[in-house]
Every structure is written in C-alpha cells, then in structure tokens.
Symmetry: C2
Subunit: 350 residues, 2 copies
C-alpha cells in the first residue's frame, strides 16, 4: 500500500536536444531567421506594469488577428501554448470514447504519448513503402483520426483530395489535420472547416513564424467543436497564454510580408539542399516542410549523425523501426546548409 499505486506512470515525449553551446542546430525544425521586427517592437513597447493583472482569458486580440488573416469567423479559432498544447487539448476533448483513435505508424511521435497519458485507445496504421497514407486504411470503425499533413518526420505532403476522403468517410469521428508544416507546403485543409463539422486543423507559429520560444499554436474548427475545446481548456487552466505571447502572436500574424519573405527563403534553401544531398548519394521523398528526411545509399544514418554531432552540427536521428536508416535535417540558413554539405562530403569520402 503506497501512494505509488495512484500515480499515473508514463513514458514522456523526448524533444530534440537543446545544446546551450553555439552549434549548427538542424535538429528541431526551428526557423533560421529571427521573428518579425514588429514582434520585437511590440514587446519592447509593452507596458510591463500590466503584468500585475491576469491576461485576457479569451485571447481576443490574438484570436481576432488569426481569424482576420485566414478569413475565418473568430468563433472557429482556438489558441494555445504551441500546437502541442492545442493538440493535447484536442486529444483530451475529442477522444474520450472507447474506440481506437487512428494515426499513421510513422508520424509526429507525440500522438501516442498523448493517447497514453489520457488513457485513449489507439491503433497505428502503416504508411506504404513510399511513406504515403492510404485513405482506404482509415475507412474502419474508429474513435477519431489524426493526420499530420505534411507529415513528420517524412516531409511528405498528401493531396487535399486524400485528406478530404479521410474526413468525409468518418463523419462520426473527429479528424485532426495537424498542419504544423503546411506553410512550407502547397495545400491546407483550413478551407474545409466550413464544410465538415468533424474537422479540426491545427497550426503553429514555432516554425514558419520564428516564434518557437514564445509557444503559440492555433486551431480551426466548427464553432461547436471550439466551444467543447474551450470548455476543456477552461477546466485545465483559464489563462494559458501569457501577455507577451498574446502580443507577439498578433504582430507575427499581422506582418505577412516578413512571414512570406522568410518562408520563401527557407523553401529556396530547402530546394538547394535537396539538389546537393542527391549529388552526395542521399535519397528522400520530396519534402514540403522545413526539413528533409534522408537516407544514404551506403553510409549508416546513425554514424553520419554521430560524426556531425562531433563537429557541432546537430541533426535528428530516430532509432526506431522503419526510421533508423534516416536523418531528419532541418533547413537552416544558406551558410549553415553549405557547411553541412561540406561536412557530409568529408564524412562520405572516407
């Protein structure tokens, strides 16, 4: 008899390493460019005396800016402490049934962690050999579906028609489309939110808006689902978003010009990197994200990861089935990627 038996014991998600030394950091899909100067200015001008008060629990300023930008009603917008907080709240809110929630075997590795912590039954569905989703695999009884599009860590983007097929074939389940990387891709399911009452689309400002350190995520869904989500959020923590995050998120959304500038730079660098990696004997699916998930024709991924780390270049290596031959390489600045390519040339020469 002990309090041990009342304790929820879980295996947590392992985030990428955050070395405190100065390194070339291509392991957590951060943006290589700083956030908008408008974010900086607003934070500098923020009256810190206000910090003595609680922030706006409705997050109205941020929600309004997101709603306007995406031309969606503000009653269809939810915000949280990064898309991890948004997704966690979605799992807690929408997957309270007994049937298994479905998601791919290779995808964001937090999904099964959330399922475990909240006691949600789940079943993983294997991607095909090219890391593609087969929509027909999801046409079975389920308590919910989660699809990352583009997917991580593969970088593969599925056509919207396939995503819609999955949403429409499970009208009695909530389908979450996790679009953390969609800004670097070509399509989005946000336009489907008006059409499907069972759809939730989640986004983050951590990657394409260079605000990982501020923790801002958001979601779009039918008003009814947003209401349920807010009821759970207000049952966990009334004030999740602090004042600086509300201010920074709003400014980041408003500065569309800068957003497009840095996104386009990341995409251009990605395309250059793809060409260089190919020349070095790497192969990969055509990434639509800010990272490339690559395997080499002869050298072991783990060895490349280790040698790069010795040289202070951090990429992500997953020692898991189907992934252990691959490296996930975030897109940095042109200079960082040139340095990476140069190091890889040396490693692969030996």
């Amino acid at each position: 008899m002990s309090f041990e038996e009342n304790i929820r014991k879980v295996v947590p998600y392992t985030p990428g390493e955050q070395p405190q030394r100065k390194v070339i950091k291509l392991n957590t899909n951060e943006c290589p460019y700083p956030p908008s100067e408008k974010v900086t200015r607003a934070l500098r001008e923020f009256d810190t005396e206000l910090l003595r008060k609680y922030p706006d629990p409705e997050c109205s300023g941020l929600v309004g800016a997101i709603a306007d930008y995406y031309k969606v009603g503000k009653e269809k917008v939810f915000v949280g402490v990064g898309s991890d907080d948004v997704l966690s709240m979605c799992f807690l809110t929408f997957f309270a049934g007994k049937k298994p929630v479905l998601f791919p075997d290779i995808t964001y590795s937090f999904y099964d962690v959330w399922a475990n912590v909240y006691g949600i039954p789940f079943e993983t569905i294997a991607l095909d050999e090219d890391f593609n989703i087969r929509a027909e695999d999801y046409k079975k009884e389920n308590g919910g579906i989660v699809i990352a599009n583009p997917n991580a860590p593969t970088g593969v983007e599925e056509p919207l028609s396939k995503i819609e097929e999955i949403i429409s074939s499970s009208p009695d389940s909530i389908v979450i489309v996790d679009e953390a990387y969609a800004d670097f891709g070509e399509n989005t399911a946000i336009s489907l939110v008006d059409k499907y009452k069972n759809l939730v689309v989640t986004r983050t400002m951590s990657k394409s808006r260079a605000l990982a350190g501020m923790r801002i995520g958001y979601a779009f869904a039918d008003e009814r689902l947003i209401k349920y989500l807010n009821d759970v959020k207000f049952s966990v923590n009334s004030y999740t978003m602090n004042m600086p995050s509300l201010i920074a998120g709003r400014e980041a959304i408003l500065d569309d010009e800068y957003f497009k500038e840095i996104r386009d730079k990341v995409v251009a660098t990605r395309e250059w990197t793809k060409a260089e990696l190919k020349k070095l004997g790497f192969s990969f699916r055509d990434s639509k994200t800010n990272f490339i998930f690559a395997t080499h024709e002869s050298e072991q991924a783990e060895r490349i990861y280790e040698v790069l780390k010795e040289k202070d270049v951090y990429v992500r290596y997953f020692n898991k089935p189907r992934l252990s031959d691959y490296l996930r390489i975030s897109i940095g600045t042109d200079e960082e990627m040139k340095e990476l390519v140069s190091l890889l040339k040396n490693i692969l020469k030996r």
Copy 2:
C-alpha cells in the same frame, strides 16, 4: 451515432471578470503594484532573435533561482504556467487511483473542475462553522488530499501543526498544500518537504510577485514525485514556459527586497481595510491573504456586489451554498481601498 459521444463534456471553471475598461479591480486577487523593475529591465534587454528557438524545456534558470531562494534542492522544484498549470498537472499525475480525493467543501473552486475533467473521484469535507479545517475529518481512506493554506475564498490560515497532522496521517496518499496566498500569511509547509515523501507544496507568482500576466507557478516535493510530475508534463507539452516567463520569473525571485516591500504594503493595507470594514458592520475571519472574505450584518452581499459594479468597483461574489452571504474583496492600493470604503458607506447608509 455521432462524434458527440466521444467528446469530454465538462463544466469549466469561471474566472473573475476581466473588464477592459479602467475600473477599480478587486475581484481576482491581483497585486495592486507593478512587478519588480528588474523584471522590466530583463524583458527590455531580452534578445528577441532567440525567440526563433525553443525555450529550455528543463526551465533550468528559473528552477535554479527558486531552489536557491528557498534553499531546496533543484531536483525538488517543478515549474508551470501559473499554479493552475502546476495543480492541474499534480491532479493528473498523483490522483490516478480509484479512491476519492478529499478537499474542503469551501476552497479554491478549481479543484472539483480538475477532478471532473480528469475523471478523478472526489469527496468534499465540510469546513466547520468558522471556516476551519478539522484534521480528524481527513483521517479516512482516500486517494489524495488537497488543502489550500491559507484557504480561498475564506482567507483563513491553519496552523502548520494541523497541516502536518493531515500529511502524516495519510502516508499512502499524496497531500497537496496549495500555498497560493502563503506569502501574505505566517506559515508554510515548504520546510516539511524534506520530511514527508507524500507532500507537494504549490506556489504562484501571480499574487505576491505581481506577475499574473506572465503565468508562473511552482511546486516543491520529494525528488521522486517531481520526476513523476515531469514525466506527465513532458507527456502533455515539452515546452510550457516561454522565454519571457522564464526570464521574468527568475528576476522576480532574485529581487527579494522589492518583493518584501510590496507584500508588506499589501498586508498593511489589508489591516487598515479590516478595521474600516468592521466599523461598517462587516464581519470576517482574520484574513492572512491579499483579500478579505466578508459578510455584512444587514445588507445582502449580492446587492453590495451589484451596486459596487455599477460604480466600476469589481469585487467577487459567489452564488453558492454557504458563500452567498459573502463578498471576496481583493486588497488594492490604499487609494482604491479608501474609495471602496467611501462607496460602502454610501451604500450602507441607504
């Protein structure tokens, strides 16, 4: 058949009103003084370019400052997005058993909300007629115990001996002592953390350190409990604290002189307000918090609340059994409390 049956339906906590107009705001126990100038300076000097990166998931700088200040090992410290986040994580982590968790019938009204959202069985134990806890009532089979000390909304502080009696009599349960208001009182259970392996003490920077808008809470417990708590936290969101909150929290802890100055001012104003309220026919238990929970000898609490609100003075009224004759009045500046007293004189004259 519909996705409705998979949805977790809950009745959320209702936070105090946050009027956007300029009012005398005595309804959410905020600090009437601004945060430390060192907080302001650190936020102004913060290099916003860093925001492109994820924050330190271990929150080392903040955890280290708290550990040093309280002379507790850093492996015994946990931090979160306000003490609400810390308490929510504690409920999720420590109350996963089947026996009911015990807490007073009159206490922080978030406890039953967390129990409901996480499906935790609970039982409320009536305070005595003077709003005091009876330690013997907690000497029964339970899956955990939560005690706010000083209690809210009553303002009553129990002696540490009574708290220790509760902790020691349930060694097979986790006992959480919620010390959100302890900085305004006279005792703390932090010193007991080394003695009892089943104790968790939670704190917040929202009240006594004037940082409600930044969302910073923390907890002390045996290393083993902190490890379980971190496993659950890292199963929900790896990065809950953003960079500004990590910086602000550290500076607020380091500026002990300013902390003591504003805390002492709040306590002095509270004592002045008590004397004035007594003259006006109010009675209340001797508050050891930054609010007074008062009932009037003849006038209805709800009417006073309504009339004050019309005059742009917000206090908190709970329309609940045993509470509906009371007002919870946060301690503002001397000027605000003088204005309140003057308005009350007018209201009570009629």
